[in-house]
Amino acid sequence: MRLITTQLARKGLLVLSRVAALPALLATSAATWAAPGDAVVDEAQRWVLNMTEGVTAVSREIFDLHMLIFWICVAIAVVVFGVMFWSMLMHRKSAGAKAASFHESTMVEIAWTVLPFMILVLMAIPATSSLIKIYDTSEADIDIKIVGYQWKWQYEYLGEDVSFFSNLTTSQDEIYGRAPRGEHYLLEVDEPLVIPINKKVRFLITANDVLHAWWVPALAVKRDAIPGYINDAWTIVEEPGIYRGQCAELCGKAHGFMPIVVHAMEEQDYSDWLVEKKKEALEIAKMNELVLPLDEMYARGEEVYLQSCAACHGVDGKGGVGPSMVGTAITTGPMQGHVDVLVNGVQGSAMQAFGNQLSELDLAAVVTYERNAWGNNMGDMVQAVDVLNYKKNQ
């Protein structure tokens, strides 16, 4: 069955792509309206008409299911619309057609109730078996907890002490057309999720604030990330490669700007990466013991601010979705209050608790930056160790 539908799918797509070539020709000129210098998208990618087959057994099964239902629908459409167009052509008043007067037939009505029902049963069988497979999250080799935040993803390798955030790296300049857009515009992150191939990876998906949904088309994994719930899903990727997806549940302003990148690699490469990550974690812990001068803290703080704060509070600190930070009671008030807002967030508002999202050093740096940037000029600063102590003592 799978073979037949796939072949049919390929043939059908060939026809479709030929039909699609016409608007493609018409629109080549239109495409040049994109900002000059933008990455040129591969011709085959520009006119993708269909779902990806993906790189897992499950994704291929879903693709085949999709094509099977599609072709059944096409067949039904050909028959129904065929009769309809034939009637419209042959039974026109202008062609001298005289109307018949029949208006019911119990036999016919029973037939076209029972027949569709049987077709539905045929569809339900493969759908049920696929669903059972997808729901079997048992016996995973690796567990990764995925937490959705406004607007980034956190990946935590359970039992490995490795945890990091994954942020969009596309620049505001690209988004606002001040710089040419790169090949992976809006689909690129600073740290991708890394997984080994041919291993059963289980994802435990939840959210910290609002709903999100974690979706990578090539893996055919889409699960809602819901505060208070942990949803599970799994995958076994067969091909090494980089697979891109996006948040699929409206989660506020930057919903379109929190992509997912999965880097699937050979098992050995994965283990090497994991070792490297653990080392990094240790280094970060050491960094927290450092005492840095104001200018270094300021520079580091600016980086952190642009990554984690600017989306709401604006690049210039003048606010946006979030309030302005220029000369406010928090940024120019007592140090303790400022640290508290960053570590614990503000209940009932969109201000998150960054205490577990950023390292103590980064928290200290960003507080220092905010107190000295944009004319706040407080001249004071806080060190990583202070933040650590604050967290311990609260």
């Binding site: 493609a24 239109a30 495409a31 309206w33 994109a34 998208v41 990618q45 008409l49 269909n50 779902m51 990806t52 099964e61 999709h66 239902i69 129904v80 619309f81 009769v83 009637s87 039974h91 026109r92 057609a97 005289k98 109307a99 018949a100 029949f102 019911e104 009505e109 076209w112 109730t113 569709p116 029902f117 539905l120 569809m123 339900a124 759908a127 997808i134 406004q150 690209e174 988004i175 606002y176 057309g177 857009r181 604030d209 609002v210 709903l211 949904a213 055919a220 819901i226 505060p227 208070g228 719930y229 996006q246 948040c247 699929a248 549940e249 989660c251 302003k253 919903h255 379109g256 700007f257």
Partner: protein, 517 residues
Amino acid sequence: MGDHGPAKGFGRWLYTTNHKDIGTMYLWFSFAMFLMGGVFALVIRAELFQPGLQLVEPEFFNQMTTMHGLVMVFGAVMPAFVGLANWLIPMMIGAPDMALPRMNNWSFWILPFAFAMLTSTLFMEGGGPNFGWTFYAPLSTTYAPPSVTYFIFAVHIMGASSIMGSINIIATILNMRAPGMTLMKMPLFVWTWLITAYLLIAVMPVLAGCVTMMLMDIHFGTSFFSAAGGGDPVLFQHVFWFFGHPEVYIMILPAFGIVSAIIPTFARKPLFGYASMVYATASIAFLSFIVWAHHMFTVGMPIAGELFFMYATMLIAVPTGVKVFNWVTTMFRGSMTFETPMLFAIAFVILFSIGGFSGLMLAIAPADFQYHDTYFVVAHFHYVLVPGAIFSIMAAVYYWLPKWCGNMYDERLGKAHFWLSFIGLNVTFFPMHFVGLAGMPRRIPDYALQFADFNQIASMGAFLFGFSQVFFLFIVIKTIRGGAQATDEVWESPEGLEWTVASPAPYHTFTTPPAVK
């Protein structure tokens, strides 16, 4: 009493209890909302014309998608059908007016206030609703802009209006039919509206409960939908879609009634399978209550729930298929002509079926893991709502307008409007299937470069479709102001009591009930 005409001036409209006046007001109101919702849609399509952010910021973009959905569903489609019900149901069943004329006045007149309030939120600090028309918590509660309270109040008023309208329609149909008009002799538009009214009465209170729980969460410290307080964000979705799925059929069942009136007239052949049409409508209405969670396949339900909602959803294809087969068989061996209402009705059958096919695909839970929350879904529901609900309303306007105002519309202009709309709509929404399958999520203000071309095409189609509706406005006004005098029958031997009264229909019709054979 006798036959007296309408009062003069603005008071006529403010105080009227006349079903025709109220129907007219509903229809004009819904058209105004249709244009407003359309402008919101064009802002969306203009921003999506190319990658990057050019015209609006993401916050405002989200307000546009939310307001577009809310205004089109609650402001354009639902009031339009209530307007048609007001005009047509009393004339179709041989009643002098609606059963509860004063309440009828009220159910209309609270609507403009609801929408004025809803629209005013766009000008408030923090902006209007920005959480999608499905307003999932906690984005619509803890994280909502302050204007959400106005949104909640507006939804309450819309709900009250719908409930009063439905009570009125049920009371009218059950009590005021002319002697001899048995239930199984009623035109299908009356039947489908009777069933729709029951759906409305069943689910609008659920929506009201849903937004009331939001209100409590926001202002009174409860935690219905907040996990941090022991509540459940998924509960929101169950409650919302228990309203939301029947709501989808509320927007399409009256359309089935309209098409079932128009196709027989222009095929010059009685509707095939009248009784099965009634039973199919009732079956769809019943099924609509047990399929809601198919909007939530990715929410992490237990597999038993997943399977139940998949099977139940697939079942809807059976009664819907029966309807389509019946319409096609009505055309078969007819003697067809293709005036504007018929063109819209035929486009309805074809394009609604396409929306039905994609609906069947979406019902398959494993495949839905790929479709869910992508443009494939956007394509699907626009195919059932635009050529479904909207086209049926336009077909109805062309079909009954000569009866309402006594003048024929200009056939050439009507056909031009049809073709412009037909082309515009397909150019807009067909490419959305492709970008959705290729992986473009819905409700995003900016997208990856590979989606650029189809989005550009869709945006061009949207502007064509949008401006065609201004042309529609022109045609309707032109018809009201003049044109060839319509005969009482208007069309060639159409069925129904409404064609037995003069054109334009007198201010009061059937003050003495007609005899129905």
